[in-house]
């Protein structure tokens, strides 16, 4: 299969099950909602080193938010049930609670699994906090120097999908970057998906484990490193001198598929040789995104 002369490899991206929460952060202006969301999702690229993966899903209009103010929807993922509330409590407490004018609401109200995030944060109020039930949901009002911070008592948790991906194999670094940027633009703001890495792009894709250091969980993906072409078992076709990866996390597999369907054709630009994907022979995760099937 080819798109705009770019080969679509007959392979699949392998993804795994994660736990996901959606947070809706509102602020007096979109700027302050975005400030909080940016801080909240900082240092959250990969569970390998950050213990969580997070990103901005999309901006919300005032009509879409519970309090009628501009908002940002954020997806937050961890590998297990226990670490999701831990990460949320710490991060919301340090980045949203501290940010002027913001409030924090649950974006998965129908999820039966509930995480007591606001309930844990309430103790910052030192006994002066107050709860309110509005429309069957409990909120906590925390007095702060600015005025009040409002946070929902619980947040929904679903089984999500982490590690959807595709690799852009290009003739040079400029072509790879331009293709990656085009793909990210095409996938940004699609519902149910985040691209957790910087600008949505990864330059240092990894393989599981290490050939040399036994304590390393992940090391450079040497078959795709162009500088190692001559000394390793390379996976790169002739003429490829740079590779970038797009990693996708989402609330479910169809959302990831929809984003890949939008992103891959956008990446098929001049200078790009092949689009392929990372997998581990089906041993890592239950979600397999076959590139050609998605694009058919």
């Amino acid at each position: 299969m080819k798109i705009n002369g770019v080969t679509i490899a007959d392979t699949f991206a392998e993804a795994f099950t994660m736990r996901v929460a959606r947070l809706v952060i509102t602020g007096r202006t979109a700027k302050w909602a975005r400030e909080a969301a940016t801080k909240l999702t900082g240092f959250a690229t990969s569970v390998i080193g950050c213990k969580c993966e997070a990103g901005i899903e999309r901006e919300l209009t005032p009509a879409e938010t519970p309090d009628g103010r501009p908002g940002i929807s954020v997806l937050f993922l961890t590998m297990d049930k226990a670490s999701l509330p831990e990460q949320l409590i710490v991060r919301v407490g340090q980045t949203v609670l501290t940010c002027p004018t913001t409030a924090c609401f649950d974006g998965l109200p129908d999820a039966p699994d509930r995480l007591a995030v606001g309930k844990a944060l309430r103790v910052f109020g030192d006994g002066f906090q107050a709860s309110k039930v509005i429309g069957g949901k409990r909120y906590w009002r925390l007095p702060v120097m600015e005025g009040e911070f409002l946070v929902e008592e619980t947040f929904g948790m679903l089984k999500g999908v982490g590690g959807g991906n595709f690799l852009i194999l290009a003739a040079d670094a400029d072509a790879a970057l331009a293709a990656a940027e085009a793909a990210v633009d095409a996938m940004t703001s699609l519902p149910g998906v985040i691209l957790p890495f910087p600008g949505g792009v990864v330059r240092s894709g990894s393989k599981v484990g290490s050939k040399r250091y036994k304590n390393m969980v992940a090391t450079t993906n040497d078959p795709f490193d162009p500088t190692l072409r001559a000394i390793t078992q390379t996976a790169l076709p002739e003429g490829v001198n740079s590779v970038l990866e797009i990693v996708l996390d989402g609330t479910d597999a169809p959302s990831i598929e929809a984003a890949m369907r939008a992103g891959i054709p956008a990446a098929c630009r001049p200078g790009v040789n092949t689009i392929t994907a990372a997998n581990f022979g089906g041993k890592l995760g239950p979600h397999h995104f076959h590139l050609r099937k998605i694009l058919a």
């Binding site: 009628g68 409030a103 039930v133 909120y139 409002l150």
Partner: protein
């Protein structure tokens, strides 16, 4: 659906009318529920024509200002009254929603005589005025009044929220421990409430938006995004409650 068949000559105590209670009963069983008319026992069917049954969504047609204790102890469902009601509406109510398209008498959402707690959950919407001591000793829940409140609104509240769009009479919030009284017009505050600050309370915006979109109460934008003066009180009690008075956009 209940519609008045015979106007009561005296006060009709009908604390059997509760949406969740009707959910398990057919029309005949509902009509057989006990009431007290002028101090004498009777049945609901002597005064109301009952249509339907086995539903927790109940409607009462017309004005029933002589009927008291409607929705007393109600724990779920929806009860709509198309006109005005008597005193003790939603007495010690625990859940569900009561929506009155008229006025309500004294002690709406309040407590039975001698009881420590009034309403402990649910919502009461009165699209008109309420009498004295509405929301008295409320423990949880929300009472919204689009008209005026009488004397002692929210007196002795333990928690919960009272919203009053019109004037609130003297003694509002007296002996309040926790809980909120949100006043969109004038309110006669007890001297034992102390001014804290003027700010945009985010929860009030959320609450008023809920009333507008979730309950269908017309709420102007100036209240949703408005500034409110916060008065803490009752300082003769725990002092963790508040009166939030709208002061402008």
């Amino acid at each position: 659906m209940l519609s008045l068949a015979a106007r009561p000559d005296h006060v009709l105590l009908a604390d059997c009318i509760a949406a969740d209670r009707f959910a398990g009963l057919d029309a005949n069983a509902i009509a057989a529920l006990p009431v007290v008319h002028g101090g004498r026992p009777g049945t609901l069917g002597e005064f109301f024509k009952v249509r339907g049954g086995h539903s927790s969504i109940v409607r009462i047609e017309g004005d029933v200002p002589q009927v008291e204790a409607i929705g007393a102890g109600m724990a779920g469902g929806e009860l709509t009254i198309d006109g005005s009601v008597g005193r003790d509406l939603g007495l010690a109510m625990a859940g569900g929603r009561i929506d009155v398209r008229g006025n309500a008498g004294d002690n709406a959402g309040g407590a039975p005589p001698g009881a420590a707690r009034g309403m402990s959950g649910g919502e009461i919407i009165v699209r008109g005025n309420v009498g004295d001591e509405a929301g008295a000793r409320m423990r949880r829940g929300m009472l919204a009044v689009t008209g005026d409140g009488g004397r002692g609104m929210g007196i002795g509240m333990i928690a919960g929220t009272v919203v009053v769009f019109g004037k609130a009479g003297p003694g509002a919030g007296r002996f309040l421990k926790r809980g909120s009284i949100v006043a969109l017009a004038s309110i006669e505050r007890p001297a034992t409430f102390r001014y804290a600050c003027t700010y945009h309370p985010p929860y009030v915006g959320l609450l008023l938006r809920y009333l507008r979109s979730g309950v269908g109460v017309p709420v102007a934008d100036r209240y949703i995004g408005g500034r409110y003066e916060r008065y803490s009180g009752d300082l003769a009690e725990l002092g963790k409650g508040e009166i939030l008075q709208w002061v402008g956009e």
